[in-house]
């Protein structure tokens, strides 16, 4: 039996060591996973020998694993903090696309409207019923059910959580003083679910639930989404358009670590964010490094076309120019990567 096993293993090693096949492992954000899995699948069709294995374990996991060097690239929606960067020198943020965090719910209410204040009080557990006066005030003339609210949040360290709580901390002093902002905070109430997939699944399964997920997850699962009151005082529905609006006035810093929640602008959706791939400025593995840099270049150019159909907003033109310049500075074993031969 053991000989047989050994033979199988040898055979396997031989089969997968086929010339040219390269597996590049990445892990992190679930927020852009629908888009990334499309990208990696498409890119694999263009370059059959290149396989990107991306596991959506959450942004917290993406940052941890790239820091520990257990993956070739990470992904996060929340930019790394200074403390995290100090532990992982040489990490470059590459914004890939824009997304919106939407408030999704499972209750018999059409076109729910919420102010930031009301939203924060729901997630603080201060508003426990759908027909609470505060929700009624935001939704004049709408019949609200006498039903308990089941708050659903993330159980893993999440960039989506970071974006969402960053917004809540901006609009609610009470939230700022309480749970605060971060990839995982101390939730006063609610059910925890793993990943954007888990939160979407739990909201879908649980009557009365409210949660926060990336726009794509809510749209693909036909879930209701709330309109949120933005900085300029208008209720805005989450959409690709209103996400782009939120990024319109952004002044992008050189390291791309920026927050665009609670953005100004008449039609700007208030909980939008860039999402990032995390790569090493200099990669030691020549084959992997070259493939990764070429992929990044593909993603911010050709890849952008796949964004809108999957409910992500493409990068603004100016940002694409900036990122293109940054990608050119990435090196492999100290040498620049030629992008000319590609495509």
């Amino acid at each position: 039996m053991k000989k047989l096993l050994a033979a199988v293993l040898l055979l396997g090693a031989a089969a997968s060591a086929r010339a040219g096949d390269l597996l590049i492992t990445g892990a992190g954000a679930t927020f852009p996973f629908p888009l990334y899995s499309r990208w990696f699948s498409d890119y694999n069709k263009l370059h059959p020998a290149l396989k990107f294995n991306y596991q959506s374990i959450g942004s917290g996991g993406g940052i941890k694993q790239i820091t520990e060097g257990t993956v070739d690239f990470g992904a996060s929606d929340a930019p790394m903090t200074d403390a995290e960067l100090a532990k992982a020198p040489g990490i470059q943020h590459i914004p890939t696309v824009l997304g919106a965090v939407v408030v999704t719910y499972n209750a018999p209410v059409k076109d729910l409207k919420l102010t930031g204040e009301t939203l924060s009080r729901v997630f603080l557990g201060k508003i426990a019923k759908w027909n609470d006066p505060a929700i009624a005030r935001d939704n004049p003339g709408v019949r609200l059910p006498d039903q308990a609210i089941a708050v659903v949040h993330r159980s893993d360290g999440s960039g989506t959580t970071a974006i969402f709580t960053d917004y809540l901390a901006k609009v609610s002093p009470e939230w700022k003083a309480g749970p605060g902002a971060g990839k995982s905070v101390r939730w006063p109430v609610g059910l925890g679910a793993k990943g954007n997939e888990g939160v979407t699944g739990m909201v879908k399964q649980t009557p009365g639930a409210v949660g926060y997920v990336e726009l794509a997850y809510a749209n693909q699962n036909h879930l209701e989404m709330a309109s949120l009151k933005n900085r300029d005082g208008h209720f805005v529905k989450p959409s690709i358009q209103s996400t782009s609006e939120a990024a319109a006035g952004v002044r992008m810093p050189a390291d791309y670590r920026v927050s665009i929640t609670d953005a100004a602008g008449r039609n700007a959706y208030p909980i939008a964010s860039f999402t990032y791939l995390l790569v090493h400025r200099d990669t030691r593995d020549a084959a992997k490094g070259t493939a990764l840099v070429q992929f990044l270049s593909w993603a911010v150019h050709q890849g952008q076309a796949a964004a809108a159909p999957l409910d992500y907003a493409p990068l603004p033109k100016k940002v694409v120019e900036q990122v293109t310049a940054t990608i050119k500075t990435l090196t492999v074993q100290g040498k620049h990567v030629s992008l000319a031969s590609q495509h």
Partner: protein
Amino acid sequence: MRSLLLRRIRNHLMTALCGLGVLLALAPLASLLWLVVSRGLPGLSLSFFTALPTPVGEPGGGVGNAVVGTGMLVSLACLLGLPLGVGAGVFLAERGDGLFGRTVRFTAEVFSGVPSIVVGIVAYGLVVVPMHHFSALAGALALALLMVPTLSRSTEELVRLVPGSLREASLALGVPQWKTSLRIVLRTARGGIVTAALLAVARAAGETAPLLFTTLNNQYWNLRPDQPTASLTVQIFNYAISPYEDWHQKAWSAALVLLLVVGGLNLLARIAMRNSLGSHR
């Protein structure tokens, strides 16, 4: 004194309550098996076993890589765990009556109840961090660590079933102890050892928790022990908590596949056991 009638009624009542226990215990089993079969069956097709998982929203696809991944993980775990587990079991049966033997036996018994997630952390610390890689090897190590204590105890039980007269006859003929152990005792207990090994393999194939942060996952085929690898159990977990209907369907189908694998191994174990007992009694 209480009347006889009252005591009789009480007797029947308690009998009925205990009988109810049987029903309550078997009801979840019936429900679970029925659902896994009825919901899992429609999703089964040849491509379910041969295709790779598709990106979200793309129809079709299968869990071929996860089936292969589980197979590889379990094979690697067997390479690491079977010799140790069976060997320790033979030690316990042949030399296990002293203080050292009793210590080993008690340790194995107690350790066989250790939560599998704990072993996952151990494998992460021992393999993933130093290797800078999630890998099938790390997962296999975790599975092997879980396998050894249980396997050693069950091997011992089954080796001890070998009649003492066989051993005595061999020794009386002047055969040295080591030859007696290998040629007579172990050969006789072979069927039992195979049974114990099959049960250990079945248990390993169903583990999820120790794989989460050791093998990670992989949406491609992988047969390299030093790479992240898909497994049926992790795939079922990911599909189950997702919001997508077609992924739920795949979770049930994958659960059916896993159940068939585990059930098949248990069945084989029973057959091996019966054969070994039948031929020596």
